[in-house]
Symmetry: C2
Subunit: 312 residues, 2 copies
């Protein structure tokens, strides 16, 4: 059996958008800062009554619309830090019930932030390969509008709501390489969901840390996969902000390889990388480095290679 | 490299215990029901100010006291549904910071209940083997006293607080076999953390479901590992209640192989199996089936074999 890779990606990106310009004025954020640092013109917004599992289900249905028979999956993993309700039952179980999946399906939730797609990809495909599963889905769904204080200028104009459902299969359109992982628990207070239910973020500390550790993680991931940066067509960074993407692009000496895609919908947390893979990455990109970084703080970087004759 | 197995287990079981007899009288639970159905004489209780990461840290220190150098671990996974605060940052990151681990350590939290040890074991060892990690720790820490309503007779006299830190290493004292997994999202409303912050449990539905699916899961796990029940020395069930353990023991036709160990501390959620492995399972037990079941509902069953010359 071939190793498990990415077969297809279903995306749920709400059509409702919040324009950031007027909000920036209200919050005392200058147009220059909004454009050059944050970089988000609009933010995707779920309907207030929609919950995490609703977005996830929409992404799964988008995957099914591509011809994927969800009733054949053997494993359903969900990456989220914002489950429905208070997290019991987990989102993967809710989806299992809503999709009326067979009892034999293995389900679990992984609590990870913006590094969650790369972490979840490594964890879930390792699990599937060890257990002999051929078909699984990794869902990322973390609508931060549930926890962001709309009056906090440090967080209000960053996050967009979305979900992605990534098919994991040996019949892959993207193969997955070795992954570099890292954590900095010493920075754990830089991004905290306070007891008020609102997110606190020390953006400067996060930017400083990620500006340092992510270029090193990219270098290690390249070495693990016996690649040089010159052999890579694109470095798909977690779309944390325009400034983060540009800073890391400069940090690795290849700003032309680190596009910023998220101006029209915002930082989608763990869904930023799969949404970009599904919507933006061009067919001509054959070898890609994907790097996520965020809550924790934690980061993970891997290499994706496009398999012949298909696109994700 | 040998496959990753269980090397040692550090346990944090609070010395403080709540006697159930007087509470049962207050809650209208008869002594007969307390003894025969629930089976818990005392429940382990953390100090009110202790949080999930405190219990987890105590378990990690108990592991370190056995000679394990925590600074050499490459992976730290935490199974919990009751993280510190509101879950951002995750418990694994908090522990990473408190232990001052190197930045190269991979960290993640898995949200699972009473099936969480077997799920977490399968997920984490698969992840380690895929990434070439030799040394990792799986922490289980889910102090349900944080969410149980002391006035709810359906839940007040069941759960005990504890944590376990399980060393995962190729130098294993227990090897880990193939695992059977299952989920029943249709029963997701049988165990719910309500918006009040209190746990709701439909014990009858859970008991009925587990009484049916767990014996089948044990049979499948035996078949996956080419074993018969006669070749197994013990079936270590999640210690949900005396009734659950006895019912499943009868369901598999081997009540003599399914001991109930938890009378003195309660249902420890995801820590029930590793705590029993560390404290109760005898040296003469060489081949053991371990089965967890709970929140979700989800279940997982695997086979552990004692390696020569060591005990966990």
């Amino acid at each position: 059996m071939n190793p498990i890779g990415i077969g297809a990606i279903g995306v749920a990106l709400p059509a409702t958008r919040q324009a950031t310009a007027s909000e920036a004025a209200r919050l005392g954020i200058t147009p220059e800062r909004l454009a050059a640092r944050l970089g988000f013109v609009r933010l995707a917004r779920k309907a207030p009554a929609e919950d995490t599992s609703d977005l996830a289900l929409a992404a799964l249905r988008a995957l099914a619309a591509q011809g994927v028979d969800l009733r054949r999956i053997e494993c359903l993993a969900v990456v989220t830090q914002n489950p429905d309700g208070l997290g019991i039952p987990p989102v993967s179980t809710i989806l299992h019930g809503q999709l009326e999946l067979p009892q034999s399906v293995a389900t679990f939730d992984i609590a990870h932030g913006c590094a969650g797609f790369v972490y979840g990809l490594a964890i879930t495909r390792a699990f599937m390969m060890a257990e002999g599963f051929r078909t699984g889905v990794l869902v990322t769904a973390d609508p931060y509008s549930k926890i962001v204080d709309p009056d906090d200028p440090h967080t209000a104009l960053i996050f967009g709501d979305a979900a992605a459902a990534t098919l994991l299969t040996p019949e892959a359109t993207w193969s997955v390489g070795h992954t570099d992982f890292g954590s900095d628990g010493a920075s754990r207070e830089a991004l905290v969901l306070k007891s008020s239910g609102r997110l606190y973020m020390n953006g400067k500390r996060i930017a400083r840390l990620c500006g340092t550790v992510v270029p090193h993680s990219i270098a290690r991931a390249l070495a693990l996969n016996h690649l040089t940066l010159a052999e890579v067509d694109e470095v798909l960074l977690h779309q944390g902000s325009r400034y983060m993407v540009e800073t890391i692009g400069l940090g690795i000496g290849a700003p032309d390889k680190t596009p910023f895609y998220a101006a029209d919908y915002g930082n989608l947390v763990s869904s930023s990388i799969p949404v970009a893979l599904a919507l933006h990455v061009r067919e001509s990109v054959r070898t890609l480095v994907a790097s996520g970084f965020g809550v924790g703080l934690a980061w993970a970087t891997t290499v994706l290679r496009r398999e012949n004759g298909a696109d994700a």
